[in-house]
């Protein structure tokens, strides 16, 4: 195990930033997000969780897929150069680490690999930071996530009163730490700080099975009544992966890009002929909850919610997924 003083963390980030693009929780106008480190930002590492999940490091809000030139003589298409830039993602919490496993399932399995996602995922060293304190909206333990140790990351860090303890988990993590060994002091027999204990509890046992019988239930009309359809929940969700594909033209040339989309919007499923299988917010909100708690579990064998609490923290009308889960467990079929 290695150790670094909290006050020396910017130096470590600077050192990593020599060779890689370093994303670390920073404050940008009151919003905490994983932003590129330039040595000058306001670090929020270790202070609660970021408002914005880390998914845009691998799956940007908008991403150019190819460029084209439309001409009578010859229309041409130009693919994007492979992403070679190395990334270091510092300080994700255990909930967001689980979300990356779900994103991997979506983008890298079931017959097709998403090339754009894969390149960025492979070029990124992921460093987790254990949670010492839970926010009032945290409920990761409902999904058997350990706030004290993340799954599937390259490096695990813990925060003590004045330092960070750092442990390489994978070879990729080991390699990164080796590059900056002069800043990291080897230590032995360090006591790990106690992991956070979320107080927001919800029992998800049997929720998928219950939902499988609830598609036509009146509950969905009731629970969706106050939804504004703003989509904030889906943009802040670390596992929401839906995207749209659009093109932008400038004269005869243009580019095709993909951008985040949301199942909370009516356009999302509306077909050219006008038919919409999810015409009202009842169907759309039902889809969101079923996707997290029934469809992803059925398709990939794990829950699609990681208990990060971002959606319930920021929903303008206080739709709370933990309350929805509790109510679903109680409704009579």
């Amino acid at each position: 195990m290695l150790k670094i003083k909290q006050t020396e963390m910017p130096q470590l980030l600077n050192a990593w930033a020599q060779k890689s693009r370093v994303f670390v929780p920073q404050d940008r106008g009151g919003v905490s997000a994983f932003l590129p480190w330039d040595g000058k930002g306001t670090l929020t590492l270790g202070k609660g969780n970021t408002l914005e999940p880390p998914k845009d490091i691998f799956f940007p809000r908008t991403e150019t897929m190819y460029r084209y030139q439309v001409a009578e003589a010859a229309t041409t298409l130009e693919t994007m150069p492979p992403q070679k830039e190395q990334h270091v993602l510092v300080g994700i919490r255990s909930c967001d680490a689980r979300s990356l496993e779900i994103m991997d399932d979506v983008f890298l399995t079931k017959g097709y690999e998403d090339e754009f996602y894969r390149q960025k995922r492979e070029n990124t060293v992921v460093i987790a930071l254990a949670c010492n304190e839970a926010l009032p909206t945290c409920f990761c333990t409902a999904f058997e996530i350990d706030p004290g140790r993340a799954e599937g990351v390259d490096v695990q860090m813990w925060m003590t009163s004045d330092s960070y303890l750092v442990e390489a988990i994978t070879d990729k993590g080991e390699e990164l730490l080796k590059q900056t060994s002069e800043l990291l002091t080897p230590v032995e027999n360090e006591t790990l700080p106690d992991a956070a204990k979320p107080t927001l509890k919800v029992d998800v046992e049997g929720i998928t099975e219950k939902l499988q019988q609830m598609f036509e239930h009146l509950y969905w009309a009731e629970v969706s009544r106050k939804c504004l359809g703003c989509g904030a929940c889906t943009y802040l969700c670390p596992t929401c992966h839906c995207f749209d594909i659009q093109s932008e033209n400038r004269g005869s040339s243009g580019f095709k890009f993909r951008c985040w989309d949301s199942c909370m919007f009516s356009e999302y499923t509306r077909m050219a002929g006008g038919h919409n299988p999810r015409p009202s917010k009842k169907e759309r909100m039902r889809n969101r909850f079923l996707h997290k708690l029934q469809y992803i579990p059925e398709r990939y064998g794990k829950y699609g919610c990681v208990g990060c609490g971002r959606c319930l923290d920021r929903c303008p009308v206080n739709v709370d997924i933990t309350r929805v889960i509790r109510e679903i467990k109680e409704v009579t079929l």
């Binding site: 010859a74 041409t76 693919t79 998403d114 839906c242």
Partner: protein
Amino acid sequence: MVDAVSSNPLVPELGKIIKIIQETPDVKTFHITTDKGKPFTPMPGQLAMLSLLDVGEAMFSITSQGPEYLEIAIKKVGTLTEALHEAEEGQTVGIRGPYGNGFPLDMMKGKNLLFIAGGIGLAPVRSLINYCAEHREDYGNMWIIYGSRSPADLCFKEDLTYNWFKVENCRVNVTVDRGDENWNGHEGFVPAYLEELKPSPENCVAVTCGPPIMIKFVLQSLEKLGFKDDQIVTTLEMRMKCGVGKCGRCNIGSHYVCLDGPVFTLEQLKKMPNEY
């Protein structure tokens, strides 16, 4: 021109429209090829993402194929399809695929096949009809029941009046909702005509595609005729963007229509949420 497209399923290959056939006032069939020949070789019922680069991209069923080209029949319903209808032969398009599961050929082997289609719904079914006609020895009797709103709206008239009559043990029945002064064929809706014709469910698989309202009543008629849910096959439509089960929107429950569909048996559909 294009490098390494095959490694990225979201990037199309450039192709050309080499032939356009006006099927009905609002349906055209496009023959599409690339510099290296046929873009890919789909199985019947599979799909292609077709694009006009500066307009848009959408998923279409592939209605048939030749040795060097794919055939895609397109009804004019929105921005992209209107632009395609205005395109001329020689137009450059983007194409990627094939996507989806296609028809369950193994399950159909040795069976009599009943094809029931309405309007542009014949497009996906036609890929299977042509496949079965080419592999005639693998299948039992073929029976095509097809209808459209009016005689002018009948798609693939050359197949209906000529090509499919030449197929051994293949019967073709055509109806229109309302005929005109020159029409001396059957008049009436497809489900009623189906009940009139009374095909036997014995060792038979029914394949149906058409407008939702037609499918709804065809399913009821098939049930009356004694067809079981596992003998009925249909193909669905959903809005799609990626075609590879990532972008999210074409899900019915935990199934993605682009990947796990578009072809489902009625038995499978009944186990899925009613949201399509």
